[in-house]
């Protein structure tokens, strides 16, 4: 019983994990920011599961004899069902992202559906990211305003966090730090003043965008 259920489930699981990883990497690369944990997004999980189901169905078209295209290309003619499940799960993106044809440069087929799914995940993560930053500021803005030398300490942490990133990324972040500092309110510091609160909110968001929530790990009072 287990030997007939486990291989297709293995294909489903591995395909889902592969899709989550692909989404994570592409979002990190394209958005140039520290992404939220992708497994925390129900939309990303739903998309990964949908792709996993494709792998599960594809597995049912394999028998290890290599008679069909799916068996040869995804199942790698494996007679061992576990290895075949492993192989289908890891390679199903080839099937999903296949371009059936191209009309005036626009892809048609699985690639179109896959990109639409990834776009949906990215849009929902964008919304969640804004909400996360907003909630973080709500919880911590008062503490930030009360923290001595908050700005310098935060930028030191941010620079430390991004020093392993490529130079163009560091220049991009550094440019924003300089721009923000030039916009610092000219009035004497006042924690109750709206312009100082906006300034602190902006530098906090800047640090969160490019170093992620971990930039605050050493700040015991922040949560």
């Amino acid at each position: 019983m287990a030997s007939t259920l486990l291989p297709p489930l293995l294909a489903l699981l591995l395909a889902s994990v592969t899709v989550l990883y692909d989404c994570h990497v592409s979002i990190q690369d394209r958005l140039k920011r520290v992404p939220m944990p992708i497994y925390a997004s129900p939309q990303a999980l739903a998309f990964a599961l949908a792709c996993g189901l494709v792998a599960l169905i594809a597995f049912e078209f394999t028998d290890g004899r290599g008679d069909t295209l799916i068996d040869s290309a995804l199942g790698l003619k494996q007679t061992n069902p576990y290895l075949r499940g492993l192989s289908v799960g890891l390679t199903v993106l080839v099937l999903i992202r296949s371009k059936l044809s191209s009309i005036k440069g626009a892809e048609v087929g699985g690639e179109l559906a896959y990109n639409a799914g990834r776009l949906w995940v990215m849009a929902t993560l964008n919304t969640r990211w804004r909400k996360f930053k907003s909630n973080f500021n709500q919880r911590n803005l008062t503490k930030a305003l009360a923290t001595p030398d908050y700005e310098n300490r935060l930028f030191i942490e941010l620079r430390e966090a991004i020093k392993i990133q490529p130079e163009d990324f560091r220049v991009f972040v550094e440019g924003q730090i300089k721009n923000v500092q030039q916009s610092q309110p000219k009035s004497a510091f006042d924690a109750s003043a709206i312009d100082w609160q906006n300034y602190y909110r902006t530098i906090t968001n800047l640090a969160l965008d490019y170093a992620g929530p971990s930039v605050f790990e050493g700040w015991a009072e922040f949560k």
Partner: protein, 83 residues
């Protein structure tokens, strides 16, 4: 220091207009002109109070509008993935 506006909006996600003003390199008037240009090209969408008439905003309003939000449009996000 020069910062590409679209890269900034792309990397920050939806961003309040006053925050974008602080993080970008453009002066408020130039920022509004660029945003209007990007909006007309369909690259960004702007939502919230006074989002329909960006060019009428004063620099003071730009520095205060935290409920007006700028974000990449769906077609722009699609281009980001296609690139």
């Amino acid at each position: 220091m020069s910062v590409n506006l679209l890269d900034l909006i792309q990397s920050s996600g939806p961003i309040a207009l006053n925050e974008l003003n602080m993080r970008s390199s453009e002066a408020p008037e130039e920022l509004l002109r660029r945003l209007e240009e990007l909006r007309q090209r369909g690259d960004i969408i702007v939502t919230g109070p006074k989002s329909s008439n960006l060019m009428d905003l004063s620099p003071e309003e730009v520095s205060q509008l935290s409920d007006t939000v700028v974000e990449l449009s769906r077609s722009s996000l699609k281009r980001v993935f296609a690139s």
